[in-house]
Assembly symmetry: C2
Homo-oligomer: 411 residues x 2
């Protein structure tokens, strides 16, 4: 007898048949006596279809109207899923983001949730109904429809779970949990029975696309227990835990994340004086280019080399911007490389264990892989290497840290 918020993404509700399968699944939970709030995305393909219509009309569609348009995708799904539940004798009622009063700010197409009024949901649950809520959307103070941005349905689910103080927020996806790394790259990648929020954040931002990073932050902030499961396969999935709850010894490394979408830029021979970093990154930021890693080494002489990485799509634009900046600063040279990849090892365990970084560098050296850039945080070590070595590096690290030996189920 728990209160569970369940979120099913676009693929899980992509056809009428799948919506019916989700209804069967939800009904099963109801029959076990649980109270269920279901959050759904648009049927897969629908959001893109709608965006396509908009783009036929406006190259840069009016954000307010874009939200009115794409929010219909989830509205279709909530109605169909509620029908499927009612048809199964499992009373259900659908709500749009606005109807269930998911109040957001007014930043159309990427609004942030400010508060949720859970009264409607509570009274439906009390009357034995399943509450079906449209993910990804809300309403601002003035009554305008807003959306949370792509993948925002996860955030909706976590926010509802937080508002309702749910026992668990279950995110159903097309994978059966969070893996030690991408199984397409490493055959014996293992499902993690549990992972901490911090690790999950690092994994997500580094390219493991299982969960929206915002939803993980949200879950951490409001202590919402989050579980990733497969929509149509049985299994316990991966539980995302608060480190504080965790009395077991942490494994050294929980996973290996990687990202092919980066490019590296270096300004050489920059005068090593205060304020130079902001002089280099200021114009980049004003050009709306997002920067990932930033590395500046201690200087020899009176100059230094300044390196950062950007999304590969922004590579050419960044080079242009940098050339101008370099001239102003009297830097020697601008060099760049867009054939790179970033590989990171992530694990809360490394905080208390020395030598994790050097074990990583050793493993790469054994394969003859040159490390171009290193960056570290409390619970991760990232390196930039030539893209061609990516798979080799991930496999070597997976094996070196014995990730293929992880087993067990979440508590």
């Amino acid at each position: 007898m728990a209160l569970i918020v369940q979120k099913f993404g676009g693929t899980s509700v992509g056809t009428v048949e799948r919506i019916q399968a989700v209804a069967d699944k939800v009904k099963g939970f109801r029959e076990q006596g649980h109270d269920i709030v279901v959050v759904v995305s648009a049927m897969s393909g629908e959001t893109n279809r709608l965006i396509g219509l908009a783009n036929e009309i406006q190259a840069r569609p009016t954000p307010r109207e874009m939200d009115v348009l794409v929010s219909t995708g989830e509205q279709v799904t909530i109605a169909l899923l509620s029908m499927a539940l009612n048809e199964r004798g499992c009373p259900a009622r659908s709500y749009t983001g606005g109807q269930v009063r998911i109040r957001t700010d007014s930043t159309h197409t990427k609004a942030r949730i400010k508060k949720i009024d859970e009264e409607h949901m509570r009274s439906d649950l009390a009357e034995g109904r399943v509450v079906v809520v449209a993910g990804f959307q809300g309403m601002d103070e003035a009554g305008n429809i807003t959306t949370l941005g792509r993948g925002g349905s996860d955030t909706t689910a976590v926010a509802l779970a937080a508002a309702l103080k749910a026992d668990e927020c279950q995110i159903y996806t097309d994978v059966d949990g969070v893996y030690t790394t991408d199984p397409r790259v490493v055959d014996n990648a293992r499902r993690l029975p549990r992972i901490t929020f911090e690790e999950m954040l690092e994994m997500a931002s580094l390219g493991s696309k299982v969960l929206q990073i915002r939803s993980v932050e949200f879950a951490g902030k409001y202590n919402v227990p989050l579980r990733v499961l497969h929509s149509f396969q049985e299994g316990p999935g991966t539980l995302i835990t608060f480190e504080e709850d965790n009395e077991m010894e942490d494994p050294l490394i929980s996973g290996i994340a990687f990202n092919r979408d980066e490019a590296k830029l270096t300004v050489k021979g920059v005068p090593d004086i205060p304020g130079v970093a902001s002089k280099i990154l200021g114009p980049i930021s004003r050009a709306n280019i997002e920067v990932d890693m930033i590395i500046q080494n201690v200087s020899e002489d009176k100059t230094t080399d300044f390196t950062f990485t950007v999304h590969r799509n922004d590579f050419d634009h960044s080079l242009e911007v940098l050339e101008a900046t370099a001239k102003e600063l009297g830097a020697t040279q601008v060099v760049g490389d867009n054939k790179i990849a970033k590989v990171s090892i992530v694990g809360v365990g490394m905080r208390s264990h020395a030598g994790v970084a050097s074990a990583m560098f050793d493993a790469l050296a054994r394969e003859g892989i040159n490390i171009q850039v290193i960056s570290t945080s409390e619970i991760k070590v990232s390196v930039v290497i030539a893209e061609k070595y990516l798979e080799l590096a991930v496999r070597a690290l997976h094996s070196a840290f014995e990730l293929d030996k992880i087993t067990g189920e979440p508590e």
Copy 2:
């Protein structure tokens, strides 16, 4: 400088190209200095697509969820049209039924409008924006999404025009006005420059499908001047006037309506005693069968014949119900005919002119057409004839009442 409510139906907004053509048209009106509120339907085919999805899940979809589902159709159109207007430098803002506070009762799938709060629209208009409103939908007191039933976008337009005290409500369709009869049956059918509300009501209920009958009633009740026009052809269309405004002499007959969808049932030899009509029609009504014409002639002896018409789809069901009733009443016989058609002449002018009915009967007699049933009201005369004579009858009447000679433009 007028305030105009314009309604574009599903065919008029059926593709991105058509939505753009509608935007061009609306922009033209803005440039003439008019304030414009646009009401749109779902893109043609969309509502049926959504209903199809629902029917895959539930044979009789939950009405509340059906409204959540189908109301997305118009929501897509308002967003796209607003984008198209913005793209043309014509500021626009979209509103769902709920957002513009079209408050309805809670009769899902066929709700009735109770009131409209026009403040949002007024302030947008004052700021120079075109207001784009989703037709066909509203919201009940509890915040549930409702729909007005098929064709309800006309009703939305008229209701908005009434609330805003608009100078005119223009209904854009795929015909360029209201015709003296169906041009597919009579080659030289003419567009009526104007028609009274009462005539329009009779024409609509008798099968001329240009406007939703509820919207015409609504327009009459709130004195909203209504005009039917073609979406993509220039022309003054047909103005639907209040008879009171009309100082010209009315034409005798404005149009000829007809209906092939009826079937006729007669109970013969019914005892002619008080209450017999309700004894016959009570069971029909309880079987949810709608009755159109009802005719009972003066009796000879102590029995009478009782005739009524129903929709052709209800013919078999009606016969069944009647057989049982006839037995109870001790009636002689039940006979029926589903190969009939109803033809009506409509015109406010006939109120003050004797002889219209007999002119009608003469015209039919000249063609050898037997009249099975006659029914009259203040402004119409309807006859039931064998279906095979329908086209012949309509042409003969069109010519007899000189409807091919109607010309002129609305004032």
